[in-house]
Assembly symmetry: C2
Homo-oligomer: 459 residues x 2
Amino acid sequence: MTLLPSLVKGMRDYSSLQVYRRNYMLAAIQAIYTRYGFEPLETPALEHRSTLTGKYGSEGEQLMFNVLKSGDFLEGIEANTTDYKKLKALLSDKGLRYDLTVPLMRHIAAHQHEICFPFRRYQMQPVWRADRPQRGRYREFLQCDADIIGSTSLLCEAEILKLIYDVCTQLNIRGFCIKINHRGILSAIADPEKEKEKEKLFCTIVDKLEKIGLEKVIAALQAAGFSSQATASLVQLQNCNGSHTERLGQLQAAIGDVAQGAKAIEELSNILTQAHGLGLPDGICCIDPTLARGLAYYTGLVMELTVAATPIGSLGGGGRYANLGALFGAKGLTGVGFSFGIDRLYDLMEAQNLFQSITTYTTEVLLTNLEAKAEMQLLHLLNQLRTAGIQAEIYPQRVKINKQLSYAHKKNIPFVVIVGETEYAMDHYTLKNMQTGVQNRYRASELLGLLKTALATKC
Amino acid sequence: MTLLPSLVKGMRDYSSLQVYRRNYMLAAIQAIYTRYGFEPLETPALEHRSTLTGKYGSEGEQLMFNVLKSGDFLEGIEANTTDYKKLKALLSDKGLRYDLTVPLMRHIAAHQHEICFPFRRYQMQPVWRADRPQRGRYREFLQCDADIIGSTSLLCEAEILKLIYDVCTQLNIRGFCIKINHRGILSAIADPEKEKEKEKLFCTIVDKLEKIGLEKVIAALQAAGFSSQATASLVQLQNCNGSHTERLGQLQAAIGDVAQGAKAIEELSNILTQAHGLGLPDGICCIDPTLARGLAYYTGLVMELTVAATPIGSLGGGGRYANLGALFGAKGLTGVGFSFGIDRLYDLMEAQNLFQSITTYTTEVLLTNLEAKAEMQLLHLLNQLRTAGIQAEIYPQRVKINKQLSYAHKKNIPFVVIVGETEYAMDHYTLKNMQTGVQNRYRASELLGLLKTALATKC
């Protein structure tokens, strides 16, 4: 017995219904991105390892699928090398992209003199992460990113917030909330003296809040040497509540006297005012001073899209990054962007029953294949139907009619054309409505018009 | 100085114009596939190496990008192993798919009891090959496959031929030709005694005809031990010419007395008659008895889409495969399919100037950002425009008007709205037509309607 080959763990096939549903989501997102003036970019699945390892540092190393060098992959490796990280770098010079931000930066760095800034680009492509697969966490997943690069204006942040809102409402998602925070808030708590490394470490630990809980986060912060003042502020701000104005007031009271805190509070306030000007309703954004987002490169606003009371987790995230381009030789490029995780969004939409209206575009008419003499006229008819835009097929083999009808039944094909010996002799076609079971005989000249009308009223 | 990170050799970024053009091609192909009753399938980029190495054999080994094992990739490797192939298999357990046929077979094998046969699926996804990059040969490229699985009927072949024709005419491609042949023809020449291995070898050598020329092919065949009868038949059939009927006659004369030859001739003849019945015009297909297609798994019709007088090469290929499913534990599954190579098709369409009508959907209206007091009303207007389906953006920074107009000019934005101090005081908006340079002042209530009309007539 041959063993059936399996899928790679954490990766999936998408059947036709899933493809239709995903395409419906992508088309909606794309239409909104376009309306906001974003233009598409696509990049290759593979990048040089040196490009990919810049951003996340050691975390990137673990996340990445590494591609073995072509040709002599042992070149330069000494027999007794046992350092895994070094060996990996020697064996592999390419990797699969784990996000769409790194390829964007690589693209911009190479084309910085042709690109018209501010550059608004969107990218909808899969990414790969060698993560441990679990519910809602896939190893191949589709991201839909929108970024505005090359402007420090907070209007960009406001636009991105409204964009997220527009996408969610277009998709009819219920109960969504955009959590926002500013890295300056966390920086003011962690590190009033502005030591960049301390802020990064603080964010990395606080980012685990939802996973491990406040108590463990506090313990980890203490172990890492953060002051009791810092942990106390964190506890205080975790209880932040009320309207935007109230929350901003609580932030002001807690960290308004630290320069980066005051600036962050002002920026948050401005962004919310501008987003409101763009039509963002109250109650969509929620200031959460403990929102960190793991990535080290954020420098201003951070955002996370969530839906309360679902185990699916974050549906997307983003933020302002001031210095990311520099890693790739593009100086002074600041940007703000957001990335929708389509696979989780799909899971959520399924849970919220939002795919009801998505029908599969399957065959509308099946021509049965019964009478050898009728074959040519059926082929002509098939071509006529397709030319008229009707989705049609002929059953390829001349087998018993029951088998052919059963095929139509299983595939939910609404109409079947039957030409047996009798029909052929009379130059007639029997048209069977598979839903009602009603069948009648027609001339060829009548059939096409009849089907057109019947299918038009079905839609 | 930081060195700019580069693209992986043989891979490319697609800018917005290229994405729009590719999407136009894909939409056209998808619409035709759908009309023919094909349903979409998508599969992951990565497959187990054991799945991928089955089909091509040693050729697949060379073509494939191998992904390094996660975790302990040295497990099971002895220090003195120097056999590259063995080492590769030990270091890597996954690879990037190099075609869409293997994933299809893997999918069918796993779902054979749920799938409704004959199964008509299409798949439009990138594949990766560690080939030497050269003109028209990329290492990441997009394939659009359509396959009918589970029927031996030659009607399937006829449908695929008409499908190729419909796609090419829909895309307005000029001078295309579908070369066809039947593996039985080559088998009858190579090996009248039906030793399968000899036929495979013959096909592999004859497949190089276009690349290395007849003389070298003959020499290679002789070196491989093929009879002088075989090489003589090949030379004779290379000069095959005239109409289908004439070519079939010449084939009959040359190999009609060999059983598999006679059967192949009959099948070719039937396929052409049925394709004609489906509306395929004369002169689109061309019987080429030396067409081999490299892949070992074809067993019947083979097809290749070409355009004369272009250096771009084959635009797609396909054929009938009788036993492919068996490799994956799905017994008795026969299929016929075709794969368009979108990247070469793109190059051809560019060369034939067929993208003229594809415009980029860029921003239609730019709101300039000049007067702080006007910001809120501009954000309202921006939201109104977008809600009305107009692609609009605001220049994020408040900089000199010339810089903002220059941005609109570079991005080919047709309309610009200007609100300076004067306009703000009068509650007016200046609308500038960037093409004519004409500008006039309007009230907010007039602006939206005016822009809607102007943009509608532009399209």
